[in-house]
Structures are given as C-alpha cells and as structure tokens.
C-alpha cells in the first residue's frame, strides 16, 4: 500500500490541482480558461502519442478532434429533440469512439511508413476533410457550423450543466481519466514498442515486431483520445465549426506538443497550459502576443529542441552522476543577464508599438519619443547580451563536467 501511495504521488497531486484550481480562481474568465486548458491537455497528449511516443509527424490531427466535436454536438441535438435520451457526461466517450473509427480507417493505409510519407498523407486527409466539411452542409453545417444545447439531458445528481464550472468538473474528470489511460498505455508492451519503432523501426522488425502494426495501434489510440478532447470542446462551447478540424487547429496542437516537449509524457501538458495561457492572457495585455508566440516557438526549436520537459530531462545524466549541484551557479550567471536581455527586447518592441507613447516600468516612465529611453534600453540590451556571451563558456564547461561519463558509475542510492 505504501509503495502504491509513493508511486501514485504525482497522480494525487495532479488530481488535487485539477479539483482545487477553481477554488482559488473562481471568476468566469478563469473557469473558461481552465476549460480550454483541460481540452488542450487531452488533445496535446493524444497528439504526442503520435509524434513524441511514436515518431509520426501529423499535420492533420484536428481531423479526429473535429469529428469527435461534430458527433458530440449532434448527440446534443439528438438529446434535445428527444430522439435518444442519456446524460451528456457520456458524450466525450462517444466522441472518442468516432475518433477511433476514423483512425481505424485512415491508419490502415497511412501508418505503412513514418516520416515524410505519413506527414503528407496526414496533411492530405486534413485538407480533404476540412474542404468536405464545407460541402456536406447537413452534417458539418457549412461555414456557420453546428450548435447545440448541453442543458437538455437528464441532470446528473441534480447538476444540469448550465454553468461553466459544472462543465469544468466534468472536463476535469475526463481529463484525469484520459491522462491516466494515456500514461498507462506508455507502460504497456505496445506503448514501449512504439518508442522502439520511433527510435529505430528497422531494429524493431528484427526483434519480432512489425513496425507498421505498432504504429497502427498507437495511431488508433491517439485518434480515440483526440475524439474525447473534441467531445469536451463541443460540450464547453456548444458550438462546433469547420475550424475545429482544419489545419489551424492541427498546427496549434503541434505547437503545444513541441513547445512542451516531445517524447516526455508531461511535455504536452506543459505545452497545453503555456499556450492556452499565452493565447488567453497575453492577448489581454499586448497586441503583439502572436509575435511572442512565434518567437517562443522559434527559440524552442533552435535552443530547446526537446521542449520545456526535455530541458528538465536533459539533466538526467548529471543527476545520476550526482553533479547537478555544480550547474546552479553557472546557470544563474548566464540566466540572469539572458533574462535581462530578453526583457529589454520586449520593452523595446512594446515601446515601438505603443499608442500613447509612454510606458511605466518599475515606476520609471519610459517615453517612446525620447532618445534617452532608446539609448538606455539599447545599452542595457547590449551589455546584458555581452555578459551572457562571456558567461557561456563557463556554463558549457560545467555542463561537460557534469555529463562526463566515468568508467564506473557512482553507485546509486
């Protein structure tokens, strides 16, 4: 029992965070933000089953999300017109099954190869479906989309799902269950072989596994969970349009998984949270948030190719060698001027873009029309950049030292 508790510690923490978040932030805006995060987490995790765990780069993952969403909103309509009558809490499961069905069919020919072939097929299928969604108006509702009403179903323990918070708890329950099952999948033979095929499909075949079959299984599971995310989306917004299954949505989920970190289970969760926050909050403060998102993606690709989670996991060897402590000071020495450099750049961007020409930072008024502001900011930026560059070799040296493999590893506790 004790072993079970320690092993499950992270999961209890995750559950607690999911349940308690709206207790601390209970504004309508916050709850709507949490709903978006919940949906994004399931969607991004399902995407990572393909790209991170299975090595399949998909440009059309929104297909399964969108189909799940459309089916869910039609299910709401069926309930509303009393064709069928069941609680809406089961709708995400139905949506998941639709995602699974679509994946069973599409995966049967798209998983033959990974790499470019798979990517191009996914792009083609995505475009095909987005285009036909505008043609088959009776199911997809054309450009106007389809809307439903989630409050017609039978109440569950008196809850009728009028409010966002009620949907949040429903979503949180589904997110927890979906996350748990997606994690457990990574711990099964099929899930582990997906990693093996990602790393080296040829070798996998020589230990008895068909790379195609392994990919197909991951692909179907991924379609199922993307469908669940689509169902949650439909329940939250009660409105589904072509946008949910087009390339924009496919692109967004790719960004989330990539920025969060491919190949690590918590990566997409981090990515989903970060991108949803940027999407909703940053856009309140600045018109330039899309620019920052682009820069963030670029910086991630260039400097942290394994994303935020990958950055954390990069320290594994240093940790096993018990040399992680040697990295703290060099990190601070490089990190602080680097942060200062970035902050100054952001300030300059914002100043150049301001309408009322002045900005107050740390109770200093900066005026965009004064040359001293610009000279000062440029000076700070230049100095902080130079300091960053000067400290880099020391950081690199510390890194090399911490990661140097000794012949006999120090015994682990």
């Amino acid at each position: 029992m004790k072993k079970f508790l320690t092993k499950s510690f992270a999961w209890f923490g995750y559950l607690a965070v999911l349940l308690l978040l709206p207790q601390f932030f209970d504004s309508i805006l916050a709850v709507s933000l949490f709903n978006q995060m919940a949906i994004a987490i399931v969607f991004a995790l399902s995407y990572n089953m393909l790209l991170g765990q299975g090595g399949m780069l998909s440009f059309g993952h929104a297909v399964y999300f969108g189909l799940g969403g459309f089916l869910a909103v039609h299910a709401l309509l069926l309930i509303e017109f009393e064709t069928v009558y069941f609680s809406i809490v089961y709708i995400p499961l139905l949506a998941g099954l639709v995602g699974l069905l679509a994946a069973l069919f599409i995966g049967s020919f798209s998983t033959r190869k990974a790499g470019t072939v798979f990517a191009m097929i996914s792009l083609g299928i995505g475009e095909l479906l987005a285009a036909s969604s505008l043609i088959f108006v009776s199911f997809f509702g054309g450009e106007a989309g389809v809307s439903g009403d989630r409050t017609y179903g039978p109440p569950l323990f008196g809850v009728e799902f009028f409010q966002g918070i009620e949907i949040y708890y429903l979503a949180a329950a589904w997110v927890f269950v979906a996350t748990l099952f997606m994690y457990l999948f990574t711990q099964t033979p099929a899930g582990r072989m997906a990693n093996a095929v990602r790393d080296n499909p040829e070798r996998a075949e020589f230990i008895g596994y068909s790379a195609r079959r392994v990919r197909y299984i991951s692909f179907c599971a991924s379609g199922f969970f993307a469908g669940i995310a689509g169902g949650l989306y439909a329940l939250n917004y009660e409105f589904v349009t072509e946008e949910t299954l087009n390339a924009v949505t496919s692109g967004r989920v790719l960004l989330m998984a990539y920025i969060g970190g491919l190949g690590y289970f918590i990566g997409p969760i981090l990515g989903a949270v970060i991108l949803t926050l940027m999407n909703s909050l940053l856009s309140n403060y600045t018109d330039l948030w899309m620019l920052y998102l682009g820069i963030l993606f670029l910086l991630t690709v260039l400097f942290l190719p394994k994303g935020f989670a990958g950055f954390i996991m990069m320290h594994r060897v240093a940790w096993l060698q018990r040399r992680i402590g040697k990295l703290v000071l060099p990190y601070l020495a490089t990190g602080i001027p680097a942060m200062l450099f970035m902050a100054t750049c952001v300030l300059m961007l914002e100043l150049s873009h301001l309408e009322d020409e002045s900005l107050s930072v740390l109770s200093i008024d900066l005026s965009a029309s004064s040359p001293f502001t610009w000279i000062g900011l440029l000076l700070i930026a230049t100095i902080s950049m130079l300091v960053t560059r000067r400290t880099l070799p020391a950081l690199r040296e510390a890194w090399e030292f911490a990661n140097h493999m000794t012949d006999e590893p120090e015994s682990k506790s």
């Binding site: 072989m193 990693n195 080296n200 075949e205 020589f206 230990i207 008895g208 596994y209 594994r316 060897v317």
Partner: protein, 250 residues
C-alpha cells in the same frame, strides 16, 4: 541436423548480380564464420537470411521451414536474431528498456496494450539477467545512445540474445574496437552464444580462426570454400582467390 540451409541463393540489384548461387548448410550448435574481401557480398548474404532484402532466386530454410522473402519480424519470431555492422540500438530508450523490448515477443506479450510492463515480474527478472550477462547492469538506467561504443556493441548483442533465438548472426561484432575491447567482446560472444548456433562475418582473422568451427569463404558472391579453419588456412584455392582479389583491389 542442419538448422539453416541456403539452396542456390541468388541476389541481383537490377542487372547486377551480388550473390551468385550460394549453397550453405549450417549445423545446429556450429560456430560458423563467413570471410571474404570487401564487396564480396557478406553483409548482403546476412540481409537475405534475416529478411531485410528479398532473395531473387533460391530457397533459405530454418529448421526445414522456408523463410526466404518473409518479413524480418516473421523470421525473428522463428528464432533467428542478428546484430548489425553499424550499431543498431534504440538510442533514446534506457539500456534496460532496450533489453526488455528484445524479450517481449519471445515471452508472449505481442502487441498487448493491457499488460503493465512494470508488473511483469518474470520479464523484468529476465531483462536484469541479460544485463548481468553482458555486464551493463550498472548502466541500466542510462539512455542507450549515451553509452560508449564498445558498450553499445555489447548492448546490441544483448538485444539479439534476448529474443531467445537459436541462431545468432553477428555482422562484424568487433569492428572499430581497440585490441583489449575486442578481446572482451570475443569472450562475451563465446559466453552468451553457448549452446546456440553462431554465424558471424568478421575481418579480424585471428578472431575468426579462434572462434569458428567452420569457415566459408565468399568471393564475388560465390562460396569458393567451406571447411574447418585448418583446412581453410592451408587451402591454396582460398589463398589464391582471397589474397589475389585483395591485391587486385589495392
């Protein structure tokens, strides 16, 4: 009884013949080495047997069952495992996971997505056992791609034997190793292939003559001799063809 039989095997890439009618029969428990000058088709022969390439003509049988042109995973399931000339492991998985993946099919897990790996006691014990055998227990949690070269080769051998195969094929297992590393590797190969059938391609003649029960000499896609090490050493035909082509190459 012969465990692996090649009957008149041909391989052509387009018009170019690479393997030209190889007949070979390998006995159970034998240690067989294939030697020959560069470009003789040794690696191609390995790829034909293990299913990486389809054969153009001829039959290959494992324990009397035809295996030519089967996909590699089918051949692996029938008990033939191999290593590669260039290191071929799962670089981002841990050393332990590499071995465990090698064990999965033999232990009957198939494509299961309902068993949790962490709870499979027998599987994990077997994986640790193999890590002990190849001397990588202390590196179990390291990403395989971070190992030193000789250790990666040992890991690759470990993956091959994990499958429980009766026939192990090693393609230049000690290439690129220092002398002492190679000595260790040879000792390891002897130990882990005990009681199994071993087929290896190797350039280092001292190792070949040391390990092999029989040696086949492949020159331009044809077997010109197949005999015991001492007979091969003394064969004029081999000396002439083998050394002759080497000098012609240079």
């Amino acid at each position: 009884m012969s465990i692996l039989t090649l009957n008149n095997v041909h391989k052509r890439f387009g018009e170019t013949p690479i393997i030209r009618g190889v007949n070979l029969s390998i006995e159970e428990g034998e240690r067989h080495a294939i030697i020959g000058p560069n470009g003789a088709g040794k690696s191609t022969l390995f790829h034909l047997i293990s299913g990486k390439y389809p054969v153009t003509e001829g039959t290959i049988s494992l324990r009397g069952q035809a295996i030519q042109n089967l996909p590699p995973y089918e051949i692996a399931r029938r008990g033939l495992a191999r290593s590669f000339q260039v290191t071929n492991i799962f670089p981002r998985l841990s050393v332990f996971e590499n071995i465990r993946c090698g064990l999965l099919w033999k232990m009957g897990y198939g494509y299961s997505f309902w068993n949790l790996l962490g709870r499979q006691h027998d599987l994990n014990t077997a994986a640790r056992g193999i890590l002990d055998q190849i001397g990588l227990s202390q590196r179990a949690d390291y990403p395989a791609g971070e190992l030193a070269y000789a250790q990666q080769r040992a890991l690759e051998l470990g993956i091959a034997i994990a499958s429980g195969a009766e026939v192990i094929m090693l393609d230049e297992p000690v290439a690129g190793m220092s002398h002492s590393e190679a000595e260790n590797a040879v000792a390891l190969i002897r130990r882990v292939t005990e009681g199994k059938t071993l087929i290896m391609v190797e350039h280092d003649m001292s190792i070949v003559f040391d390990i092999a029960d029989r040696i086949s000499v492949l020159v331009y896609g044809e077997l010109i001799a197949c005999d015991t090490p001492s007979n091969i050493r003394n064969s004029e035909k081999v000396q002439e063809a083998y050394l002759g082509t080497v000098t012609a190459d240079e």
